[in-house]
C-alpha cells in the first residue's frame, strides 16, 4: 500500500516565538520549525499502516526551499521519499492556491491513501486537506481517530471524531483522510533514521512543473492579512478560599450558574 502524507513546516508551537514580519507574512527566522502536529499524527498512522500491511510512505510539502530541513525530520521517522513544491511565485499563497497546487502535485504521484492534518497550527484554515479531496474528486474521510484499510476490498474505514464519540466511515480507495491527535503519539526518530534520512530523495517541483495557471500572477491573492494584534492578556483568575465544604459549594454554584453542570 502506498500512502502519501502532506506535511507542512510550521513554527514550533513550543517555542512560542511565531510572528509575522513587516510584510505580514510568517517570519521564518523567528522560530524553529517542525512538522505540523496533525500532519505528524497522520505520518505516524501511515508508518504504522505500512508496517502492518507493507508498502511505503512518501511525503508531500509545499514550502520555501528551506522546507527541506523539516522534511528531513519526517523522513527520519520513516518516510521513504519526499516531494517539495517550491516556487517564489507561491510565497504567501492563500488557501485556494495551496489546495490547487497540492492537488496537482498529489495527482502525479501514485498512492492509495492521501493523508493530511485536519488543520495546521500556524494558519489554522482547516480547509486544505478537504479542499484537495474536493479538487481531486475523491472521498474525504475527515477528523480521523483511527484508519483501517482493507486492501483486498480496496476500501478504507475511518473512525471520525464527533462531538458524541466516533462515526465509522468507509470509502473506496484511493481516498483522502484528514488526521487528528487521536491517531496517537508520533514516534521519536532514531539516529539510524536521521542518518538514513540524509540520503533519501526529495524531488523539488516548481510551479512550471505543475502548471503555471495554478497561482495568480504577481502574487495578488484575493484575501490579505490586514493587521496583527496580540491577544488581550487574560484577566486574573478567581481564587476560592475558605474551608473545603464552602469552597466546594462556591465552585459548584459557579459552574451551575454557567450551566456547565
Amino acid at each position: 500500500m502506498r500512502i502519501l502524507v502532506m506535511t507542512k513546516p510550521v513554527p514550533d508551537p513550543a517555542a512560542n516565538a511565531e510572528r509575522l514580519g513587516p510584510d505580514l507574512r510568517l517570519d521564518r527566522a523567528a522560530s524553529p520549525t517542525v512538522v505540523n502536529g496533525n500532519d505528524e499524527y497522520g505520518l505516524e498512522a501511515a508508518l504504522q499502516l505500512v508496517e502492518a500491511h507493507g508498502g511505503e510512505v512518501a511525503i508531500l510539502t509545499m514550502a520555501p526551499a528551506s522546507g527541506v530541513e523539516t522534511m528531513r525530520k519526517a523522513l527520519a521517522m520513516g518516510a521513504l521519499r519526499g516531494v517539495l513544491v517550491s516556487d517564489d511565485a507561491l510565497a504567501g499563497a492563500d488557501i485556494p492556491t495551496t489546495i490547487r497546487v497540492l492537488a496537482a502535485a498529489a495527482a502525479i504521484q501514485e498512492w492509495d491513501l492521501l493523508l493530511g492534518g485536519l488543520d495546521t497550527s500556524d494558519g489554522a484554515g482547516g480547509a486544505v486537506t478537504a479542499g484537495v479531496a474536493a479538487r481531486l474528486g475523491l472521498p474525504l474521510l475527515s477528523a480521523a481517530a483511527h484508519i483501517e484499510p482493507d486492501e483486498a476490498a480496496r476500501t478504507v474505514r475511518v473512525k471520525r471524531l464527533s462531538a458524541k464519540g466516533y462515526d465509522l466511515l468507509e470509502a473506496p480507495m484511493p481516498a483522502v483522510v484528514s488526521c487528528t491527535q487521536a491517531l496517537g503519539t508520533p514516534r521519536y526518530p532514531s539516529l539510524k533514521g536521521i542518518m538514513a534520512a540524509r540520503t533519501r530523495q526529495i524531488t523539488t517541483l516548481s510551479l512550471a512543473d505543475l502548471g503555471a495557471d495554478l497561482a495568480p500572477a504577481d502574487r495578488q491573492w484575493p484575501s490579505r492579512v490586514l493587521a496583527v494584534e496580540p491577544p488581550p492578556s487574560r484577566a486574573a483568575g478567581r481564587t476560592v478560599t475558605g474551608d473545603p465544604a464552602s469552597q466546594a459549594r462556591e465552585i459548584a454554584d459557579y459552574l451551575a450558574d454557567r450551566r456547565i453542570i
Binding site: 514550533d12 513550543a14 517555542a15 514516534r187 526518530p189 532514531s190 533514521g193
Partner: protein, 714 residues
C-alpha cells in the same frame, strides 16, 4: 637434590601434579581471553598515566581503602589477602623444589628464611581465623548484600583446606623430625604431638603434605571459574581503570555510519567492560548502595556485572581447552579456537539486565563508588541506553516530550526560550546578558558568567534559587552576566538518557555561544551540579575547555574572603541537614564548600543524614529520571531519602542542586511536612539561606571589577 623435602616420599611427583594444574589454569584463562579478544578493543590506556595507575594499585589493591566502609570486613579480608600472599612464598617453595629457600636460606645464616617461616605461621593463623569469620558471616550473620551459593562455600573450604593442610603438616613434621628453625607455632604444636611417636607423626605428615599439594592443585583449577578469580584480575582491572573524570561518559563518534551506536551485544562491549565481570567478587556493595535497588526496583548492578561474565563464559561454548593446532584447523576446517558469532551477538538487555532496569538507573554512581575493585557500572548502563535510543528509538514514553523539547527549544520542559529571563523580573538590580555586555563593549570587565540552567530558568521553585544566586553575586559586587535566550540545556539529561545525538547538538551550540563571548578565558558559575559536571568534564570531548565552578564553591570563597558579609544575627537555633548531590559530591568531590557556607551563618547547627558526603543517597532525579515516572518498586527514591532527612530532626533541608530541590520538596510534602502544614520542614538551596543571612549591605557603588582584576579583551 631437594634437601628441603628430604622427608617427603616421592617428592618429584609434585612437579607434574602442580605444574599440570597450573597449565590447566592457564588454558582456562586463555579460553576466557579468546572471548575478550573478539569483543570491542578498549582504547589503549595501559601505559598512560603510569604514576596514577601505580598509585591506584597501592590504594585499591594493596591498601584496599574502599573496604574500610566496613572495618571488620576490611580486617577479615586483609587476613585472607595477606595470608594468601605470604603463604604463597611457602607454596612457591614447595612447587619449585625449594628455590626460595635455596636463595633466602643462605644470607645471615638462614635468619631471613627462618623469619619468613615464622611469619607464615602467623599468617596461617590469621588466614584461618579470617576464613572462620567469613564462614560465620555467611552462615550466621547473613549480611543482606551477600549472596551465598555453593561456590562461595567451596571457596572458603578450599582456603581453609589449603592453609590448614600445609600448616598442620608442618606440626607433624616438627613432631617427627624435630624443630624447624623459625616455625615457632608449628614447633609448639609439634612438641605436643611428639608423644604420638615417630611413625604416627611421620605418617600424618606425609598424608597431610600430599593432601596439601592436591588441594593446592585443585584450588588453582577452581579459581578461574568463579568469583575467586578476582585475586588475580583485580590487579589488572585496577591498573586499567578509567582515569578520566568519573562524570565523563565515553566519547562517541556519531558520524560513523557503519558503527553500532552504544552497547547492544556482548561483542559491542569494550573488553575492559567484559573483564569487569571477571573481576567482580560478588560482594554486593554496589547493589546495597543502589538507590533504585534500595527502593525495590529490579535494577541490580551486581547482577549486570555478573551477567556480563556469564555471557562471556557462555560464549566459550565449543572452544576446546586445548584447541586444534593451526595446521589441523586449516586442513580439516576444525576451528575450535574462536567463539561462535551468535553467542558474541547475544543482546545484553534481556540477558544480563532487564529493559526496565536499564531505565531505573539514576546514574548516581553509588555503585561505582562502592566497588572495591573499580568496576564501572554506570558507563555500561548509559551505553545500553544509547543503543536503545539511537538505534531502536526505544525508551519510556515520558521521555519523548523531554527529547523533543531539548531538540527544538533547547530545554527538556519544552518551555519557550523567550521565558528564560523571567526569573529576573522584579530584582532590585539589573541582570545583564553577555550579549548586552558585549554590545556595551564591557566584556573585559566581566568577572563571571552565571550559567542559570533550565531548571532555574523555568521551574517556579528554582527561579527563586536563581534570584538568590544573583542577589549574592550582586551583594558581593561581582560583575556577572547571563546568556539569557542564548543559553540552552547543557545536554546532561539527554546524554544520560542515552540521546547522544541531542547532547552533542546542544553541547556544540553552547560551546559556540560561550566562545563567542570569550568565556573560556573567564569563570563560569552555576547552581546546577549537572550542568557543572557536563560543562566542566564533558564539553572537552567536543573541544570546549571551560573553567566552571559550582555556586557553592564560589559563594563559599566570597564569604571566606569577606566579599559577602553575613549578618551578626544569623539564624538562631536553626538546625539544617545538607543533602549532597551525587554529581557534586560523588562525581566532583565538592562536599565542604556548601557546609562551609551554612557553617558560617551564626546560630546554624549542621546535622548529617545517614548517607552523606561521597556516600550520599540520590534524590531520585538524576540520569534523566527527573522526566520519567517512578512507579516501579515499593517506594520512591525521594521518599526514602526524605525519610533520612526527617530522621535528623532538622527543620531545614539544604540542597545545592535544582533536581534535588524539587525531589526533596516533593518528598517532604508527601511525608506530610510540606510548606502548608502545621509543622513544615523547609527545603532551601544553600544560596537562598546565604542570601537570607546576608548583612544589610552598604550600597555598592560600582559592580565592575576592581582595578587589577580586569581580564584581557579578546
Amino acid at each position: 637434590m631437594f634437601e628441603s623435602f628430604a622427608h617427603v616420599p616421592a617428592y618429584p611427583l609434585v612437579f607434574p601434579i602442580f605444574w599440570g594444574a597450573f597449565a590447566v589454569f592457564l588454558l582456562v584463562v586463555m579460553r576466557h581471553a579468546r572471548v575478550w579478544v573478539e569483543v570491542t578493543p578498549t582504547e589503549p590506556r595501559a601505559l598512560r598515566n603510569v604514576a596514577r595507575r601505580v598509585g591506584g594499585l597501592i590504594e585499591y589493591s594493596l591498601l584496599q581503602v574502599r573496604m574500610f566502609t566496613e572495618p571488620n570486613v576490611a580486617v577479615m579480608h586483609f587476613g585472607l589477602f595477606l595470608g594468601s600472599t605470604i603463604l604463597l612464598i611457602g607454596n612457591i617453595n614447595f612447587v619449585t623444589g625449594g628455590l626460595p629457600e635455596f636463595i633466602l636460606g643462605y644470607p645471615l645464616n638462614g635468619a631471613i628464611w627462618a623469619f619468613l617461616l615464622g611469619l607464615q605461621n602467623v599468617m596461617a593463623v590469621a588466614a584461618l581465623v579470617a576464613t572462620a569469620y567469613a564462614t560465620y558471616r555467611r552462615i550466621v550473620v547473613k549480611p543482606k548484600r551477600l549472596i551465598s551459593t555453593k561456590v562461595h562455600y567451596q571457596t572458603l573450604a578450599f582456603i581453609a583446606l589449603v592453609v590448614s593442610t600445609e600448616f598442620v603438616a608442618q606440626w607433624f613434621e616438627a613432631a617427627a623430625f624435630g624443630s624447624i628453625n623459625g616455625a615457632f607455632v608449628s614447633n609448639f604444636f609439634g612438641g605436643l604431638l611428639a608423644g604420638l611417636g615417630h611413625d604416627a607423626t611421620n605418617a600424618a605428615f606425609v598424608v597431610l603434605w600430599w593432601a596439601h599439594v592436591f588441594v593446592l592443585a585443585a584450588f588453582l583449577i577452581f579459581i578461574p571459574h568463579n568469583k575467586h578469580f578476582h585475586v588475580y584480575t583485580t590487579f589488572v582491572n585496577v591498573w586499567l581503570r578509567k582515569l578520566a573524570p568519573r562524570g565523563q561518559l565515553p566519547a562517541m563518534d556519531l558520524e560513523r555510519e557503519d558503527a553500532t551506536f552504544g552497547l547492544r551485544t556482548l561483542a559491542d562491549l569494550p573488553w575492559k567492560d567484559v573483564f569487569d565481570g571477571f573481576t567482580c567478587t560478588e560482594c554486593g556493595r554496589c547493589t546495597s548502595q543502589c538507590p533504585a535497588n534500595r527502593t525495590g526496583k529490579t535494577l541490580d548492578p551486581r547482577a549486570l556485572i555478573m551477567g556480563i561474565r556469564r555471557m562471556s563464559e557462555a560464549a566459550e561454548a565449543g572452544i576446546d581447552l586445548v584447541p586444534n593446532g593451526p595446521i589441523v584447523q586449516e586442513t580439516y576446517g576444525l576451528v575450535d579456537s574462536k567463539p561462535k558469532q551468535e553467542l558474541l551477538l547475544a543482546p545484553i538487555v534481556g540477558n544480563a539486565i532487564s529493559y526496565d532496569s536499564v531505565w531505573d538507573c539514576v546514574t548516581c554512581g553509588a555503585c561505582v563508588e562502592a566497588c572495591p575493585v573499580t568496576i564501572e557500572h554506570v558507563d555500561k548502563i548509559v551505553g545500553l541506553r544509547r543503543n536503545l535510543v539511537l538505534e531502536d528509538s526505544k525508551f519510556p514514553n515520558e521521555l519523548t516530550p523531554a527529547f523533543r523539547g531539548m531538540e527544538s527549544v533547547g530545554n527538556p520542559w519544552g518551555q519557550p526560550p523567550s521565558a528564560r529571563l523571567d526569573w529576573t523580573k522584579g530584582l532590585p538590580f539589573e541582570v545583564r546578558t553577555a550579549e548586552a555586555v558585549k554590545r556595551a563593549g564591557q566584556l573585559d570587565q566581566l568577572e563571571v558568567l552565571y550559567w542559570v540552567g533550565c531548571a532555574a530558568a523555568f521551574d517556579d521553585r528554582n527561579r527563586r534559587v536563581a534570584r538568590a544566586v544573583a542577589t549574592c553575586l550582586d551583594a558581593a559586587g561581582i560583575s556577572f552576566a547571563v546568556l539569557g535566550q542564548e543559553e540552552t540545556c547543557s545536554g546532561d539529561p539527554a546524554r544520560r538518557m542515552g540521546n547522544e545525538y541531542v547532547f552533542q547538538m546542544l553541547a556544540t551550540q553552547n560551546i559556540e555561544t560561550l566562545n563567542k563571548y570569550g568565556i573560556a578565558e573567564r569563570t563560569i558559575i552555576t547552581a546546577c551540579p549537572h550542568c557543572f559536571n557536563t560543562i566542566g568534564n564533558e564539553y572537552s570531548q567536543l573541544g570546549g575547555k571551560f573553567h566552571i565552578r559550582h555556586h557553592s564553591e564560589f559563594l563559599a570563597e566570597l564569604v571566606r574572603k569577606g566579599r559577602l558579609r553575613i549578618g551578626a544575627d544569623g539564624m538562631p537555633q536553626r538546625t539544617i541537614t545538607y543533602h549532597d548531590s551525587c554529581y557534586l559530591a560523588r562525581y566532583n568531590g565538592v562536599m565542604e564548600p556548601p557546609r562551609d557556607i551554612l557553617g558560617a551563618i551564626p546560630g546554624v547547627k549542621l546535622v548529617e543524614m545517614t548517607d552523606n558526603h561521597r556516600q550520599t543517597m540520590c534524590c531520585g532525579g538524576g540520569g534523566g529520571r527527573m522526566w520519567m515516572d517512578e512507579n516501579r518498586g515499593n517506594t520512591r527514591i525521594n521518599a526514602a531519602r526524605t525519610e533520612q532527612a526527617l530522621a535528623t530532626d532538622a527543620g531545614t533541608v539544604a540542597t545545592a542542586c535544582p533536581f534535588c530541590m524539587v525531589m526533596l520538596r516533593d518528598g517532604i510534602a508527601e511525608a506530610g511536612r510540606g510548606a502548608d502544614t502545621a509543622d513544615p520542614i523547609i527545603s532551601a538551596d544553600i544560596s537562598e539561606l546565604l542570601a537570607d543571612a546576608l548583612a544589610p549591605a552598604p550600597a555598592i557603588p560600582d559592580r565592575d571589577a576592581p582595578e587589577g582584576r580586569r581580564l584581557t579583551v579578546l
